[in-house]
């Protein structure tokens, strides 16, 4: 194989340009990494280190693309999904992203995972005009098409989830004494900001206790006692499944029964509620945009059955109780819709144009009624969530679809 050096690259550039313009006349427009048979797509995910529980998002996504390729690909093109490990370390993300863009020559970066990791590559990708498509984080800063036209988010923002909890509390317990437990990182603080913003002027008087934890803490008992001591009757639990399960179990043990609100990232029946005890979890409230595969109410749902069939055939080693294995395919399906809309015009510009042109797209594993909508001024694909209450068996969804965006 011929080695590509800077010089040969410079030498071949005019020829490549000529080729591109030739293709343009043939109504086929290709960006880097695209041929008649293949589209190269880059991704970074955490496969090692303390964040490796998220690695299955990348694995399930890769498995989904394998299924799509086996079925013929998109418009006859196979998707070559190249996913590298960044171990949740921003310097490594920069390295791996540059490897993907400059060495592997991918068309775009598809849902790189994590907030600090995405922040680290945002400037680089926008300078290079490489799409940072459907960033895999709930920070709200990805919806900023004016300053970062090459970056677009995907899931409901943590901020908007915080708004939704505030709206729920104001409507149902206007005189609540609120206690908050939050993880001391960007996600935890975003949720907290959302809650405070949503409560508005009343935030100061209503939030009576705040305590943070680190993921290296073995337990959060001390924090729970501190919060309980302030006579709290609404407990907003901004914690990953391990600590959410601990708080549910602990509050049952000490017979403390506030209105317990869990964040969307920690409401899996199998990953959080079962370890905590299903009986202990009765009455817990949370918000949703995906179908939890361990929730019995979806057992006969077509979207769930298809997902199950996909998991059995293409990712048999994957944990079928893990919500992250739902997330991966959903990212992939959204991207496939963008590719379909692009047709044979697979330039980076058109990818962004089509990603900002999604209308009422529903995915098999999104909750009924929740759809993906974007426009050139709206880079927040999923905006709606629904609230649900656990009844000891399943999540009973209630109330209308909530848009987390504050009325401006």
């Amino acid at each position: 194989m011929k080695k590509i050096t800077r010089r040969t690259m410079l030498a071949t550039a005019p020829a490549a340009l000529a080729l591109v313009s030739l293709r343009a006349r043939a109504a086929k427009k290709y960006g880097p990494g695209v041929t008649d048979t293949e589209i190269k797509v880059g991704n970074t995910c955490f496969y090692s280190g303390p964040g490796s529980s998220y690695g299955t998002i990348g694995k399930s996504e890769a498995a989904y693309f394998k299924m799509v390729n086996d079925q013929g690909g998109v418009n006859g093109r196979k998707i070559n999904f190249i996913s590298y490990d960044d171990a949740y370390s921003p310097p490594k993300t920069v390295e791996q992203t540059r490897r993907l863009v400059e060495q592997d020559g991918v068309l775009l970066m598809l849902n790189p995972l994590g907030t600090p990791t995405n922040t680290a590559i945002q400037h680089y990708l926008n300078q290079k005009k490489v799409p940072q498509l459907f960033a895999g984080t709930g920070a709200s800063k990805w919806n900023d098409p004016k300053h970062f036209p090459w970056t677009i988010g995907w899931q409901p923002s943590y901020l908007s989830e915080g708004h939704a909890y505030a709206a729920y509390i104001l409507a149902n317990k206007p005189d609540a004494r609120i206690g908050v437990l939050y993880q001391n990182d960007d996600a935890g603080k975003d949720y907290l900001h959302g809650l405070v913003e949503g409560l508005g002027d009343k935030a100061k008087s209503m939030i009576v206790a705040k305590a943070s934890y680190e993921t290296t803490d073995p337990t959060v008992d001390s924090q729970i006692i501190e919060i309980q001591a302030k006579n709290v009757d609404v407990f907003v639990d901004i914690a990953i499944p391990k600590f959410a399960a601990q708080t549910i179990r602990k509050s049952a043990e000490i017979k403390w029964k506030p209105l317990h609100i869990l964040i969307g990232a920690a409401n899996s029946v199998a990953a959080t509620l079962k370890p905590a005890g299903l009986d202990n979890s009765i009455g817990v409230v949370s918000d949703f945009f995906l179908k939890d595969p361990t929730d019995p109410q979806w057992q006969n749902d077509q979207g769930y059955k298809d997902w199950l069939a996909f998991m059995d055939k293409y990712y048999p080693g994957g944990d079928k109780t893990d919500l992250y294995n739902v997330l991966g395919p959903c990212f992939a399906q959204t991207f496939i819709q963008v590719l379909k809309q692009c047709g044979d015009d697979l330039t980076r510009e058109n990818i962004m144009k089509q990603a900002a042109n999604l209308h009422d797209l529903s995915l098999p594993m999104l909750l009924p009624g929740i759809t993906i909508n974007t426009s050139p001024t709206d880079f927040a694909p999923i905006k709606h969530i629904r609230m649900g209450r656990f009844d000891g068996q399943k999540w009973a969804l209630f109330g209308p679809l909530i848009s987390g965006q504050l009325p401006v």
Binding site: K59, Y84, P91, K92, R98, E102, P116, Q122, H123, T216
Partner: protein, 356 residues
Amino acid sequence: MTEREAIALDAAAVPPEAALAKPLRLGLDRRRLLIGLAVAAGVAAPLVVQNFTIFQLTMVMIYGLAILGLNLLTGFNGQFSLGHSAFYGIGAYTAAILMSGSAHLAYYWTLPCAGLVCFVVGIALGLPALRLQGLYLALATFALAVALPQLLKSHFLEDLTGGVQGIVIDKPDPPFGLPIDADQWLYYFTLAVLLVMFAAAASLVKSRSGRAIMAIRDHPIAAAAMGINIARYKTLTFGVSALYTGIAGALGAIVVQFVAPDSFNFLLSVNFLVGLIVGGIGSIPGSLFGGVFVLFIPNLAEKVSTGLSGAVYGVILLLLIFLMPLGAAGFVRSAAAWLARLGRASTRQSTGKKTS
């Protein structure tokens, strides 16, 4: 800094007595030839490889510099540290804050600032470290590594550090309208800093102070008996070690263009330590090999297996320790000795044949 450069230049001059001893001069010449070749390769590298590889090589040099800092403390002075991620982080944040805030300092000025800040912090920590040894010192420095991300996130410093969100900085452009791009410029900039710092470290180790530092490592009681001020040298070594790693941190921030608190956790300290040991404890060029290891081995492990990359990484580590228990530098040394023996043996054999 200028003093350091002066020391480095001094050391580069051939000592007169070396000219007398012929075999020694030969050894010295070969060494200089090797260093010269390495520098030439370093200068030429960005002209032949892709930008992405240039970035990787720049990171290798930065990690190598950070590991050199740790090496000065652990390898040459025998003090154990799990806290060097904190010095790297403090250096990185010093650079990021000075470049992005109201100060708007030019990137090259942030290096001496980061070095100075870390030197002061290092001295301050070196003082209590005097009373602690071995594992107890490891725990104390480990406390620093654990505390730093929490302090960076805390509400006292949030206005300065950007809290959990971190700080994004711009990439500097090459100066004087040089016909190279930003990546190449940063590479050369880092290479220049690296050469100065490595030369300074080499001459420090050879100097009177260097011998005192190593005497403390090898036999503290004898060193004290010879009149070496142990407390002063230990504290100063802590400061200089922090300075090196801090400057590496500042370079890292400029090259990556982003700092966030959780990048500087104790796993980074563990990485530095692994790089130090694999490269060779007490070997200055070995530190650079440590940088190569820190950057490239995780990528290699990932190529073998995505799901089990951690396990593959562990197996590679074990193999390296089994194959070269004294690190890469020790391996090279013993390989060179073996080759020399082989060479001597073969010449003896051939001369033997001639006579018979």
